[in-house]
């Protein structure tokens, strides 16, 4: 069996490049998933976060070989869901987006939290987003948006 086989936003995908290639680069350059941002390549900023089997991981810290036989979701896939719609509305209602660079990572970090804990406290939201750096908003609007999405999207998670 050659190549690296994985599911990307629900589609069976085979990558023929090096197993040592960085998932972040491959998602952006080979599969055109431009929601996945590169802010540091050091695991520090969370802008490159994706879900692997539903778990939040920084794609800059993942080599392609590790994702063989796993399932990756980026915002390109996630945006088709009702959960995304609830988060998107809450972020818009609370003006939680400024430049937008950190937002794909924030959205997936919020999904990772809410899928484990549908009714988080503010403290739990802050912990869940603690690996995602935002240089614009000052965080409070984002935290409130996640809390609002949990409330208004009750039953979705």
């Amino acid at each position: 069996m050659n190549g690296i086989h994985f599911r990307l936003n629900g589609k069976d995908t085979c990558y023929d490049g090096s197993a040592a290639d960085r998932l972040l680069d491959v998602l952006r350059d080979t599969y055109d998933m431009k929601s996945v941002k590169c802010g540091c390549k050091e695991g520090e900023c969370g802008a490159c976060a994706v879900l692997i089997d539903g778990v939040l991981v920084n794609s800059c810290c993942v080599a392609m070989g590790a994702v063989d036989a796993h399932e990756i979701v980026t915002v390109e896939g996630y945006r088709e869901t009702a959960r995304f719609a609830a988060l998107s509305k809450a972020f818009a209602d609370l003006s939680a987006v400024q430049c937008g660079f950190c937002i794909p990572g924030m959205i997936l970090a919020a999904e990772a939290l809410l899928s484990k804990n549908a009714h988080p406290t503010e403290e739990e939201v802050r912990t869940a987003l603690s690996g995602n750096i935002c240089r614009c908003t000052g965080y409070n609007a984002i935290v409130n948006a996640v809390l609002n999405a949990a409330k208004e999207g009750d039953g979705l998670w």
Partner: protein
């Protein structure tokens, strides 16, 4: 797979390790930041037997590819270890980072290694030829250097159950609240019977290496806990005089002051 091997059993993995030059890869959170050119990885992340947390009569056994998040969700992992790993980085790193990677990386700031030292942890190393179990003290030689042979993989860390149940003390001091590497951290566990100290460990991040000053620890055994906690300054000094502090991101004096305060706080908190 080009430039990679992805075994599904430990046996297969150690056979590959004995034949070809590969870099073990667990969570990638150290390796991918280091960005090794032309790396050929031995992916360990889908080997089930390395992903288990189990127990036997003597030990809590944590597989080398168990992630910190998985350990935080487990009832078997002792509170001292949980406290140490809960302060590592942020969720996305804890979801990927592993115990084997924390040891294998040979950093002097590895938080799970500090807790493992305080709990008298052991490392199980496996090769195609056999296996050995060695104390953390013997595994960690110095910063950047471990006692692992070329053909070996870390399979598990073993935490003695009698140590896991002891009262403990843990503090991590970093530069900020999330995503902070330890500038100084302290872990200790102790056993008291009828007011008398039966066993004690005390170990720090901040010296540039992991060490247990067992001969100093031994001088506290048999002392009354009230006496030690009332004279915390003097007992702290017994350890500090053995230690050397060097400049890193923070000054040597800063490290020494903080470590001294943590020793005092540890002894003063004992009951």
């Amino acid at each position: 797979m080009v430039n990679g091997y992805k075994p599904t059993t430990l046996q297969e993995a150690v056979e590959i390790k004995s034949r070809v030059s590969v870099t073990p890869y667990a969570g990638g959170t150290d390796l991918m930041v280091r960005n090794i050119p032309d790396a050929v990885y031995l992916f360990l992340n889908d080997i089930d037997e390395l992903r288990q947390i189990t127990q036997d009569d003597a030990y809590i056994r944590i597989g080398a590819a168990v992630t910190f998040t998985q350990a935080l969700d487990s009832d078997l992992v002792p509170p001292l270890m949980k406290e140490a790993i809960s302060r590592i980085a942020a969720p996305a790193i804890r979801n990927a980072g592993t115990f084997g990677g924390n040891l294998g990386n040979a950093s002097d700031k590895a938080d799970s290694v500090l807790a493992g030292f305080a709990l008298d942890g052991r490392v199980r190393l496996v090769s195609a030829k056999g296996e050995r179990v060695i104390p953390f003290d013997d595994f960690c030689v110095r910063r950047g250097v471990t006692n692992i042979a070329d053909d070996e993989l870390i399979a598990e860390i073993l935490l003695p159950k009698e140590k896991c149940a002891l009262p403990y003390y843990y503090k991590k001091i970093g530069g900020r609240s999330a995503l902070a590497i330890s500038r100084v951290a302290f872990a200790g566990a102790y056993e008291v019977h009828n007011g008398v100290i039966q066993a004690i460990s005390a170990t720090v991040i901040g010296e540039g290496k992991f060490t247990r000053y067992r001969e100093v620890e031994a001088t506290l055994i048999g002392k009354s806990v009230d006496e030690v906690s009332a004279n915390a300054d003097a007992y702290a000094e017994r350890f500090i005089e053995k230690m050397t502090f060097t400049r890193g991101r923070v000054s040597a004096e800063y490290r020494k002051t903080v470590v001294t305060n943590l020793f005092k706080d540890y002894f003063a908190s004992m009951k």
